[in-house]
Symmetry: C2
DNA sequence: CTGAAAGCGCTTACAG
DNA sequence: CTGAAAGCGCTTACAG
């Protein structure tokens, strides 16, 4: 292995000077610099990142802390993860995956000193991991939000997204618009659920009709259950905003299985999902595409900004989803 | 930060002895050990992984080297990635994501000394990255295979999978079975394409009919194109084995758009996809579920085995997909 | 502008 | 069974 010492010897300088040119930390005379750069070339030297990390107490590694995603493969999730990985790489950081649910194990990992910062996914309204993170003093950024808004986060702008979805449906003449959201289970209560529901209530208020909210699990079966509940409990509803990626296909299939046409009898917008998902379903769903890759990238970026000492207020970023028209929205059925 | 020195002082031993008990590298007298363990507890000491890495020249970090997955979110991919992350964690290793296409950048990363080993995804038949990896002397394992079979790999057993798919269709009375595979583009030629096609030829040989192979891109549009080609070019075909996850939904939709029923006119098995994908489509697709999470886990495991000095031959693992019946396979239409 | 040297927090022969 | 010490390959005050 070629070390900095080898380079220094070949260029007839001290290792300190080599370090200065590699890192650009101090000005170095042009001819000295040239000698060093030549030596680096000739020896094909590459600085050892571990030694650098130890000496500088900065590893330039970020952790992506997420629950076990194996069980619920969600199309937007991988885009998010890849966005974060790219964002980190572009800033010269590495991203490690920490599939950790156990809050104890998380503290262990944090204390090991491997990472400079943490990206926390699937944030809950009250999230014990946030307290651990705060206690560990390791900088972090959230994907999603907790109850209190003074932590750095990056999130989908659900308010704008839902409003635009409802607006789009109103433009087609719908007045009775339901929301199909995600069911919180005992342990998890993503902040998004709460925010989505309140955005929905806001958005439909001008229509002057009572809200229709259905919560189902994020699976095909959940989607079919939603179709049935819509049919049985809310027959006056002519359009639905869905914020539950896993249930999208089931909702479309279930609706048709009940003899109702999409969009003839029921219009559907699937918010915060991928365009690819929309295309897979029959009829192709009109979606509000989640800016998942951008969010991942921005989360990494924001975290690196903090690590590199940008002293501003904690970054708080909201991005709305973008409407991608499909074939699942039309006028309401004649009464 | 609490260091090993702090622990040593509190326990009245040398830091070497502390290291021995933490790592179990040498036997230590029971009472000494007890003192040290107590000190660790009291100080809540956690060994610094960076210092350990530098001293032992083992970082216990693995890299997952993959192309940009953002563009083609493929449901099995995330399961694979998560499987690898879990597998690594369980062995006490961290997994970093390296979204790298550029083969130059890859060498840079490899030379940095951050990782002990590499997992290489989306392996091509002739893969330049493999040569780089070999040159770098960093141990690795492949997901998929190159032309030559003497490198350590973990892969789907396509031969068995395709045979079982064809067998299943024969059991329903099909004799004319087509293959819809993935189109290789200029730069990528996954080894799987080749292996899938030859497995298909083997599997249908006993049927005594000419093969019908269609290659399309891995998108909904590709799937619709396949439906049309089947209809136009291979009217005698009554069943298809699909090995192209991205095209699955398009094939089903496209077939129906041509006025043909699934499975009434055409039976479909989608191989090497997730069960969730099958459920999303209408009708629910019969799939051969890819053992993606297992493969990821096994790849990580195999790599760690090598790193920890298992001297055996390079691990080569093949796992077939498992049949998950849906509603897309039935008897062939009466002639 | 450059260098000598301490130090980052561990592991690991080597001695005893 | 335990310790003193060298060393992993860098960065970074501090001097000059």
């Amino acid at each position: 292995m070629v070390t900095m010492r080898d380079v220094a010897e070949r260029a007839n300088v001290s290792i300190a000077t080599v370090s200065f040119v590699i890192n650009g930390t101090k000005r170095v005379a042009p001819e000295t610099r040239a000698r060093i750069e030549a030596a680096i070339q000739e020896l094909n030297y590459r600085r050892n990142v571990v030694a650098r990390a130890l000496a500088s107490s900065r590893t330039r590694i970020l952790a992506l802390l997420h629950p076990d995603l194996e069980s619920k493969p969600n199309a937007t999730v991988i885009q998010f993860v890849m966005g974060a990985a790219h964002g980190a790489r572009e800033r010269g950081y590495d991203l490690v995956l920490w599939p950790v649910n156990d809050d104890e194990q998380m503290s262990h990992l944090l204390a090991g000193g491997l990472v400079d910062g943490v990206l926390l996914m699937e944030v809950q309204i009250r999230d014990a991991r946030v307290a651990r993170l705060l206690a560990s003093r390791v900088p972090f950024a959230l994907i999603g939000r907790t109850e209190d808004d003074d932590l750095p986060y990056v999130d989908i702008d659900f308010a704008t997204t839902i409003h635009q979805a409802v607006e789009h449906l109103r433009g087609h003449g719908h007045e009775r618009v339901a929301l199909v959201a995600q069911q919180a289970d005992a342990t998890t209560e993503p902040g998004r659920i709460m925010r989505v529901e309140s955005a929905y209530l806001d958005a439909i208020a001008p229509l002057g009709h009572p809200p229709a909210v259905i919560r189902v699990e994020s699976t095909s079966a959940g989607g079919r259950a939603a179709a049935r509940r819509l049919h049985d409990d809310f027959p006056e509803v002519t359009a639905v905003v869905l914020v539950n990626e896993g249930a999208a296909a089931g909702l479309a299939k279930g609706t048709r299985a009940l003899g109702r046409q999409v969009p003839g009898d029921l219009s559907i917008i699937s918010a915060a999902t991928t365009r690819e998902l929309g295309e897979m379903i029959e009829p192709s769903l009109t979606v509000m595409a989640a800016p998942a890759a951008e969010l991942g990238r921005m989360a990494a970026d924001a975290l690196v900004d903090r690590l590199e000492g940008a002293e501003e207020a904690p970054p708080q970023v909201l991005i709305p989803c973008a409407l991608v028209p499909g074939e699942s929205v039309g006028p309401p059925p004649p009464r």
